[in-house]
Symmetry: C2
Subunit: 521 residues, 2 copies
C-alpha cells in the first residue's frame, strides 16, 4: 500500500483547452449543485494547501505541473468502537514487531526457506549480517509504523481485522493530515450556521505530521557523536528519484527546519557520492545546496524498499547507511519484519506469547484482529491451503499475496486457481493465502481519477505509530537482546476509501482516495 | 499591475512526457549545480505551499492542474533607506487618498472631462450618484491599498518614486507572503551551518495575509445590523469567474474561517441571483454550499474593476452591493481614486496641501516621491507635454499611460509618437505622459516562464495598507465630509522583479516574478 514512483500521475485525458473556458461545466450539469460546489471547493483547497501529485514526467526546466490527489468529498462512516480498538492496540502492535525484530534467531528461522530466492530479502539479510560482523555503534533505533485495518462483517457483528503492517517509508502521513483538515474546513463552510455543539461534530483531527516530526526531533536529540565535532548535525531523508509524491514528504522536512533541525533529502542513487563514512563510522553528508558538511543524526528512509533499488550500488548504499553511527528510521531488521511471511508467522498464538511474555489479555487483543492466513508450504496446514487455493469454489473467500514487502500484486478470489496453474509448484511457498476481509456495506462519495463516484465503498484505517528504542546486542553467553522502549505511541491515522468493486487500495494508482472517518456508534 | 483573468497561464510548450523521465536534466546541465538544486527546491516548495497558478482552461471535472508562479530564485537588493521611506509614508499616502475620496466635489471636477467617454468611469460614477440619492446607511468604509514604487537613479543619488496606487482588488497579498517565507526557507537550508547572527540575515518577513485578515475581521466586528437577526453574518468576497489566481485569494478566506468568521466567495456574475437586499438595505447572501442565509457584514471586492464587467447586469450588481448596509472594501468613491487621472491630479502641491491640511513636512514627504506627469490636455502644460510626446528624441524619457484604473496598456519611449499618430487628437486628453523612472543597475536571478534569467533586473516595491474609516455625509449647510480614521497602517509589502529589458511588470503575463527584497545600506 505504499505509494511508489512506478505509476506517476498523468494529466487528464483531455488536455486541450476547453473553448468554453469551463472544463467543469459538464460535471456541474451532471452533479447535484451542492456536490458540484464541494468539488470546486476541494480543487481550490488542494491547490492552495499542496495536496497534490506532481506530474514528474511533464516537468519542464522551471515548471512542475501538479494536480490534486484523489480524495473523498465527504468523510465516510466508520465504527467508533473499532477506531478506538485500533488506536488502543497500536502500542502493543509496535512492541510486538520491535521485539520480533530484536530476535535475530527467530527472524532467521522465519526467513530461511525464502533466503535463497527472494530478490529483496537476500540483499537485506546480507546487509544485516555485514553490520553484525562490523559490530554495533548505535544502540538506538526508531521507526514510523502504520498498521492497516478493515472492518469485517461477521454475521451481525462488525470486527476490526488487520490487513497489513508497514514499517519502512510509510506513506500517507501528510496526505492523511491534509484530508482531515480539508474535511474539517468543508464541514464548517457547510454548517457555519450551526453554532451549538458544532465543534464536537467536526471530522477527526489528525496530528500525524506533528507527531512524526516530534519523534524524529527526539531521535535527533538522542544522537550523540563520539567525538565533539565542528560540523552541525542533520536528519537525512533518503528519497526516491522522480518522486511524484513529494507532497507526502516535504512537509515533514519543512517542519523539522521550523524546529531548528536541519533536514536534507538525499536521493537513494546519490548516497554513495554525497556521503562518507568516517573511521569511527560517523556518517557525513555534503548537501548540494550549501558548502557545509553535516554529521547525520537520523537516517529517515523514504526509499530502499523496492527490489529494483538493490543492484550492486544499491546494496553498497544500504550497507553504508546501515553500518553508520546514525540512528536508522528504521534499521534493517525492523525493515525485514514488513515481509508478509513475518505477518503470517506472527498469527501463531505461541509466537505472540513469546514476544509479549505472558500478558494474556494483551495477547488476546492482538490475536483477535488477525485473519487466518498461511503459507502455501508443505506443512499440513500448507497442504490444506493449497487444496483451497486450487478449488474455485473455495478460493472465492481468499486473497493470494506474494511474500513481498508492502502491498499490491495480490490475486483475488476465483482468479487464484488460474494464477497458480501458471506458477511452478516448487515456488508456491512464496505465496500466502489469506482469508478475505468482508467489509460491511457503507456508502461514500469519492472524487477519484476523472470523475465522482457515489456508491458503496470500502475503507481502510491505518494507525501511525512513532517508536524509539534502545537495543543492547546479545552477549555471547545468552542470546536475549535487551530492549528498552524509549517512546511508543499512536501518532495519527490514515483513512482511505475505494469503490467496493475495486480490490486493490492504492491512491497513487487511482484505485482509492484519501478520506477521513466519520465515527459512528 | 493587477493580475486579471485575461491571460491564464498555459502548460509548458513541451507537454509530452519526457522519455528519459527527467524533464529538467537539460536545465541541470546548463545551470550551475547549486542553482539547479535551488530550482528543484523552489518547485517542490511552491507545490507543497500552493504558490501556484491554476490552469483554468485545462481543468477537468475533478482535476485542476496548476504550476508554480514565477519567482526570483534569490532575493534582490533594494535600498533599506528607500524601503523604510516607503513604509513610513504609507499611512500618509492612505490618508491622502481617503480624504480625496471623501471630497466628492473635487473628485467630480477631476473626472468631468472624462465622464462622458470613459467606459468604466461612467458606470462607476453613476453608481455613486444613485447611492447618494438613496442616502447613506453605512458610514464605515474599509480598504486594502497598495502603493507601488521603484528606485530612480538621479546622478549619484537613488530616490524612491511612486509608480501607481491600487485601491481595489489589490493582488499579491498572498504571493508576497509566500515568496518571503520561501526565501527565508531557501536561506536557512543554504546557510544552516552559520549559527551566529543567522536570524538577522534572513530575508524580510511579510505578514500581509495576517494584517489583511485582521483588518477584515475588525470591519466585520464593527458592522452592526439595524435589527437583531437570526441569521449569522459573513464576509462576502466578490470574485471573478475562471480565476487562475485563486492562490492569491483563498488563503485570506481560510484565515477568516480560522478566526471563526464565515467568509464566502460569490462570483461577480452570480451576485444578483445569490443576494437580496432587504427593505432596510441589509444585504443577504445564500451560499450554494449550505442551506443557511447570511447577513453580509463586509463586501471584499476582488472583482468589478474591469470595464467588461460593467454590462447592464454588472451595473446592477455593483449598485446592489454599493447601496447595501454592508461595509464596502472599498466603496465606489475610493475605487474611483485608482484612476490615473486622480494620481496625476494629486501631483499638484496645492491639492496635496488641501487634503493634508497644513502639515508642511508631511506634504513635502509625499510630493518628493512623485515623478512629473501631466494629462495631454489643452492646458499650457498639456500642450508642452504634447510637444514632447510627438518628438521621438524627447519621448525616450517618458511613458504614456491610458487614463484607466490599474496598470498595463502603457506605451514606452520612442513608441509614443508613432502610437499617438494613430489616436485622434481630440481624445489625447485621455492619456497621461509620465517621466520614466530610471532604476539603478541591480542584478538578479529569476525563475521566469520556462527558464532561468540571470542578469540586470528592475524591481518594484509595493506597500500594502489596511484602512478603516467612518465618513459622515456632508450636511447641506457645508460641504465638508467628516472623516474619522479608525485604522490606518502599513500592512506588508509586495516585491516584484523583471528582466531589465522588459517594460511591463506583470507576473501573470510572464513578464515578472514575485521576489523579496534584500535590504542593503
Amino acid at each position: 500500500m505504499e505509494i511508489t514512483c512506478q505509476s506517476p500521475p498523468r494529466p487528464p485525458q483531455q488536455l486541450q483547452p476547453d473553448s468554453s473556458n469551463s472544463g467543469f461545466s459538464e460535471l456541474e450539469a451532471r452533479l447535484d449543485p451542492k456536490l458540484a460546489e464541494l468539488v470546486k471547493e476541494i480543487k481550490d483547497y488542494q491547490l492552495t494547501h499542496g495536496n497534490l501529485l506532481k506530474w514528474v514526467r511533464y516537468e519542464s526546466s522551471t515548471q512542475a505541473p501538479a494536480a490534486g490527489t484523489s480524495v473523498s468529498i465527504t468523510p465516510t462512516k466508520f465504527h467508533r468502537r473499532c477506531f478506538d480498538q485500533a488506536w488502543g492496540l497500536q502500542e502493543l502492535m509496535s512492541e510486538l514487531y520491535i521485539r520480533a525484530a530484536a530476535d535475530e534467531d527467530w527472524l532467521g528461522s522465519v526467513f530461511k526457506p525464502l533466503l535463497a530466492q527472494d530478490p529483496l530479502l537476500g540483499p537485506l539479510w546480507d546487509v544485516h549480517l555485514k553490520v553484525k560482523m562490523a559490530g554495533t555503534v548505535q544502540e538506538i533505533c526508531c521507526g514510523i509504523f502504520r498498521t492497516d485495518y478493515m472492518l469485517h462483517a461477521n454475521g451481525e457483528d462488525v470486527l476490526l481485522k488487520q490487513v497489513e503492517i508497514n514499517h519502512i517509508a510509510v506513506a500517507g502521513i501528510c496526505h492523511a493530515s491534509n484530508v482531515s483538515a480539508m474535511h474539517r474546513h468543508l464541514d464548517r463552510i457547510q454548517d457555519s450556521n450551526n453554532q451549538d455543539g458544532h465543534i464536537s461534530k467536526l471530522p477527526l483531527k489528525n496530528e500525524s505530521i506533528l507527531n512524526v516530526v516530534s519523534m524524529l526531533g527526539e531521535a535527533h536529540r538522542l544522537y550523540s557523536p563520539t567525538i565533539p565535532r565542528q560540523q552541525p548535525a542533520c536528519i537525512l531523508m533518503i528519497v526516491q528519484p522522480y518522486n511524484f509524491n513529494i507532497a507526502d514528504e516535504r512537509p515533514i522536512e519543512y517542519s523539522l527546519w521550523d524546529k531548528g533541525i536541519p533536514c536534507f533529502r538525499c536521493i537513494w542513487n546519490s548516497v554513495l557520492t554525497q556521503t562518507t563514512l568516517a573511521d569511527d563510522r560517523t556518517l557525513l553528508f555534503r548537501p548540494s545546496i550549501c558548502s557545509s558538511e553535516f554529521e547525520v543524526s537520523v537516517i529517515y528512509f523514504r526509499a530502499g524498499f523496492e527490489t529494483h533499488e538493490y543492484d550492486d550500488a544499491g546494496k553498497a548504499t544500504r550497507l553504508r547507511l546501515e553500518v553508520s553511527r546514525a540512528i536508522k528510521c528504521p534499521d534493517v531488521l525492523t525493515h525485514l519484519t514488513t515481509f508478509k511471511i513475518v505477518q503470517q508467522a506472527l498469527t501463531a498464538p505461541e509466537i505472540v506469547k513469546k514476544f509479549l511474555s505472558s500478558r494474556c489479555e494483551d495477547i488476546k487483543r492482538v490475536l483477535e484482529t488477525f485473519m487466518p492466513m498461511h503459507l502455501l508450504d508443505s506443512s499440513n496446514e500448507g497442504l490444506e491451503m493449497r487444496r483451497i487455493a486450487k478449488n474455485p469454489n473455495d478460493a472465492v473467500k481468499y486473497v493470494l499475496k506474494p511474500n513481498l514487502e508492502g502491498g499490491g500484486h495480490n490475486i483475488y478470489r476465483k482468479d487464484i486457481p488460474q494464477f497458480l496453474a501458471n506458477v511452478p509448484e516448487d515456488i508456491w511457498h512464496n505465496y500466502i493465502l489469506m482469508r478475505l476481509i468482508e467489509p460491511p456495506a457503507t456508502s461514500g462519495t469519492l472524487m477519484i481519477g476523472d470523475g465522482v463516484y457515489e456508491g458503496e465503498v470500502v475503507s481502510e484505517l491505518g494507525i501511525f505509530a512513532t517508536v524509539i528504542w534502545r537495543k543492547q546486542a546479545a552477549r555471547e553467553s545468552h542470546h536475549t537482546t535487551t530492549l528498552e522502549i524509549l517512546m511508543n505511541k499512536a501518532a495519527g491515522w490514515s483513512f482511505k476509501s475505494k469503490p467496493r468493486p475495486v480490490d486493490e487500495m492504492s491512491v497513487a494508482k487511482g484505485y482509492g482516495c484519501f478520506d477521513s472517518p466519520e465515527l459512528v456508534d
